[in-house]
């Protein structure tokens, strides 16, 4: 009995020491200007992951986005090199001349997710698709999406 009790006490002590050394930082309790600054300084994938934490953080990310921007959401389709039957859908954010990968999905293209990205990054809702053999009639691509450009990434 004695050794196990001892062990338990040691674990508790090490945990409490850890939290005493580094208290966590309450982001929602910071001044609003600082909250917006923090989010603006994150990379787009970090902003996306933060928006998935709660409705409030999602709203915070939207608030931090500039109104008049040149953001575009581009979608690239591909196949998993190991499992050829798996379709990979990659969502990119294009800011001026930079393209940043935000998120990768396996399976179908989701128009809801695309709309979420457009809404989050204040980008137009048209689908900018990048696919070498793009076919809008493909069953994994809903036909209700407006298709503006194709194969854009291939030229870069």
């Amino acid at each position: 009995m004695e050794p196990s009790r001892k062990k338990m006490r040691m674990t508790l002590r090490s945990d409490s020491k850890k939290s005493a050394v580094q208290p966590l930082l309450k982001l929602p309790k910071l001044p609003l200007l600082a909250q917006i600054n923090v989010i603006k300084m994150m990379t787009p994938p970090e902003q996306y992951l933060l928006s998935k934490c709660s409705k409030r953080t999602c709203q915070m990310v939207k608030t931090s986005m500039p109104k008049n921007n040149s953001h575009e959401i581009w979608v690239k389709f591909g196949r998993d090199p190991d499992f050829r039957i798996c379709v990979i859908v990659q969502y990119y954010l294009k800011i001026a001349e930079t393209i940043v990968l935000i998120h990768t999905d396996i399976g179908k293209f989701s128009s809801e997710k695309h709309k979420f990205f457009c809404d989050l990054f204040k980008a137009p809702t048209e689908v900018y698709a990048i696919w070498p053999k793009f076919d809008p009639r493909f069953d994994k691509f809903p036909t209700n999406c407006a298709i503006r450009r194709t194969n854009l990434l291939e030229y870069r």
């Binding site: 208290p23 930082l25 309450k26 600054n37 923090v38 992951l49 934490c53 709660s54």
Partner: protein
């Protein structure tokens, strides 16, 4: 030679030591006093406006009581003024509105902010209150860096983000605290419904 007849020579004003280098005295909410140079104060828009409005002379600075800063403690204010003294004379950055906002943390600032998150939290509040743009930028950048490589679950822990349910509960509690009669009316309504009453009024 009289002063009127002295030759006029163009000189670099920055090279001349400033004759009236004023040091203002500030006091934190825990009664710790700090002496800060006039140039360092210019980094803080709030303090700069305050001392301008006060119009202190060098005698006033020595004889009058220290300017009290009620919202900030000594430990935080020491960091703030250390930062201001190190960056005195530097241009105040203007936000160009770009996202992601590019900010680099200089070595001095990184060492200054090698502090626990509790103090970093107070430092951000102080930078916001005193309107020190670049200090706010670098301290926010340090907070933003904490998100690197984290999942949403880890972000919730790092930034102590409440879940949707917790946010809803807090909102409801705040509403009830604002209007306690609303809860009474709701309870009365539920009670009447249980009793089978059709009309509330």
């Amino acid at each position: 030679m009289s002063v009127e007849n002295a030759p006029v020579v163009d000189v670099d004003e920055a090279a001349i030591p400033v004759e009236k280098k004023m040091y203002y005295r500030f006091e934190s909410n825990d009664k710790k006093e700090f002496r800060v140079s006039e140039l360092a104060i210019q980094q803080s828009e709030t303090l700069n406006r305050l001392v301008e409005a006060m119009g202190y002379t060098s005698e006033d600075v020595e004889n009058k009581p220290a300017i009290a800063i009620e919202n900030i403690d000594g430990k935080t204010l020491k960091l703030v003024f250390q930062w201001c003294e190190h960056h005195k004379g530097e241009a105040i950055p203007v936000d160009d509105g770009s996202v992601p906002k590019i900010v680099e943390i200089p070595e001095f600032d990184a060492k200054l902010m090698d502090i626990d998150n509790g103090l970093l939290f107070k430092l951000i509040w102080a930078a916001d209150y005193l309107n020190i743009v670049q200090l706010l930028n670098v301290s926010c950048k340090k907070v933003a860096n904490m998100a690197q490589g984290k999942t949403p679950a880890q972000l919730r822990r790092v930034y102590l983000l409440p879940s949707d349910e917790e946010d809803e509960a807090a909102k409801r509690a705040a509403q009830e605290a604002q209007d306690p009669r609303a809860r009474e009316v709701e309870e009365e309504f539920e009670e009447r419904k249980r009793q089978g009453g059709n009309s509330f009024f």
